[in-house]
C-alpha cells in the first residue's frame, strides 16, 4: 500500500519548517500547593495529562517535557526542577527504527502478533 499523499506531496514543506529547541524530560517536586501552581503555568507539556507521583516525605512529583530555557525559567521562579534525558535527541535516534517501505506488501502478507500462543487446549481451530 503506497502512502496516499504521494511521493514528496504534503510532507515536503514540513521539512523546511522551524523546529523548536530540544525538549527534556524533567521532574518538578514540591508540595500540593506548589504543584497546583505548576499546573497553572502556561504552555507546560505534561504528556497526555498531568500525573503526580506521591513521595514518602509527603511531597509529590510531576513529569513534564520542556526546553532548557523553560526549565531555567521554572527554576528561577523557585520551583525544584530536575532535568532528565533529552527526549528530542532520543526521538531523533529512534526515528531510525521506523520501518522502511512496506513489510506487508500492501496487505499481501499478514502480520503476526508478539503474544505467546500458549497451549492448544481445545480441538482444532475455528475459522
Amino acid at each position: 500500500m503506497a502512502d496516499q499523499t504521494g511521493s514528496g506531496g504534503a510532507d515536503s514543506p514540513q521539512r523546511n519548517e522551524y523546529l523548536p529547541p530540544d525538549f527534556y524530560a524533567a521532574q518538578i517536586t514540591g508540595s500540593r500547593e506548589t504543584l497546583a501552581r505548576v499546573l497553572q503555568e502556561p504552555a507546560l507539556d505534561f504528556g497526555c495529562r498531568p500525573h503526580a507521583k506521591l513521595n514518602l516525605d509527603g511531597s509529590a512529583t510531576l513529569q513534564i517535557y520542556a526546553t532548557e530555557a523553560r526549565i531555567a525559567e521554572l527554576q528561577a521562579a523557585g520551583y525544584q526542577v530536575e532535568r532528565g534525558e533529552n527526549v528530542s535527541a532520543i526521538g531523533r535516534e529512534r526515528q531510525a527504527e521506523i520501518g522502511k517501505g512496506d513489510r506487508f506488501e500492501g496487505g499481501r502478507i499478514a502480520p503476526r502478533g508478539l503474544g505467546e500462543k500458549s497451549g492448544r487446549d481445545r480441538k482444532g481451530g475455528r475459522a
Binding site: 506531496g9 510532507d11 522551524y18 502556561p42 504528556g47 520501518g99 505467546e116 497451549g119 487446549d121 475455528r126
Partner: protein, 228 residues
C-alpha cells in the same frame, strides 16, 4: 523490531482481513485527513448473525506515542491467530485461555482502529518526533507552529472545557483554544476528520460500544467519543 510506519499500519489491517475473512472485516473510514490519507479499522468477531457488544480500541491519537498503533495491530493479529488455531494467549504474566479467546471473538465485536492520526504520526516519524497533534493548518494563519489539533480534545464530551470545569481547574492541562498549544481542541467539536472517523463509525453501528484510547501515559476506558 522496527516500529510500523503509517503505510504498514494500513497494509497490516488489509493483510489480516484477507487472511481471516470469516472473523474479520476491513472497515474503510470515510473522512480523509488533511494530507489525504484514508484510514482503516478492523472489525473482529464472528457476529453470530447479530450485532454484538462492541469494544473499540483506538491508537495513534497523539502522534508522538509511537507504540500504540503497533500494540493495536499486534493485538488484532494475536487474537485472530489464537482463535483460528485454538490456542490461548499470553502477554508477560497475563494469560488468556483458548476459552477466553472464543468468548471474546464470539460474544464481542472488537473494533481495532490502530492509527487515527496518520498525518501526525508521519510527521513525528520523519520530522519532529515530539509532534502530538494532527496536521490541519486551518487555524494556523500560516504559522507552522500553530498547525494541528489535539484529536483527543476534539470530541464533543467536555469540548467546551471552560464552562464544564471549575474555574482554576488546571486550565493549562485540560485543553486550549490557542492553536499554538499542544492541547488545542479545534474550532468546534468534531471539527477534525480524525475524530469524525472514530466517533462516526461507533455511532453508525448503533449498538453498545466501549472504547479504549491508548496513549503513552494512560489507557482510558470511555463510552463513545468521550476520551480526554
Amino acid at each position: 523490531m522496527d516500529f510500523l510506519n503509517v503505510v504498514e499500519i494500513e497494509s497490516a489491517l488489509i493483510g489480516l482481513a484477507s487472511k481471516y475473512p470469516t472473523i474479520s472485516q476491513l472497515i474503510t473510514l470515510p473522512f480523509f485527513t488533511f494530507e489525504g490519507r484514508q484510514t482503516h479499522a478492523l472489525l473482529i468477531g464472528t457476529g453470530n448473525g447479530c450485532p454484538q457488544t462492541g469494544v473499540l480500541l483506538v491508537g495513534g491519537t497523539h502522534a508522538r506515542e509511537w507504540g500504540s498503533p503497533d500494540i493495536c495491530v499486534n493485538f488484532a493479529a494475536d487474537l485472530l491467530e489464537a482463535y483460528t488455531d485454538g490456542t490461548g494467549l499470553t502477554y508477560g504474566g497475563t494469560s488468556f485461555t483458548s476459552a477466553d479467546i472464543v468468548e471474546i471473538i464470539e460474544r464481542l465485536d472488537v473494533i481495532v482502529f490502530p492509527c487515527i492520526n496518520p498525518d501526525g504520526s508521519k510527521h513525528s516519524h520523519d520530522v519532529f518526533n515530539m509532534w502530538r497533534k494532527n496536521r490541519n493548518p486551518a487555524s494556523s494563519g500560516g504559522d507552522a507552529n500553530k498547525i494541528g489539533v489535539d484529536i483527543n480534545r476534539n470530541y464533543d464530551f467536555l469540548w467546551d472545557y471552560k464552562t464544564k470545569f471549575a474555574t482554576g481547574a488546571n486550565p493549562n492541562s485540560l485543553a486550549s483554544d490557542n492553536p499554538a498549544n499542544d492541547l488545542f481542541h479545534g474550532t468546534a467539536p468534531f471539527s477534525e476528520p480524525e475524530s469524525q472517523n472514530a466517533a462516526g463509525y461507533t455511532n453508525s453501528i448503533r449498538r453498545s460500544v466501549g472504547s479504549w484510547t491508548f496513549t503513552r501515559t494512560a489507557v482510558t476506558y470511555c463510552i463513545p467519543g468521550v476520551t480526554m
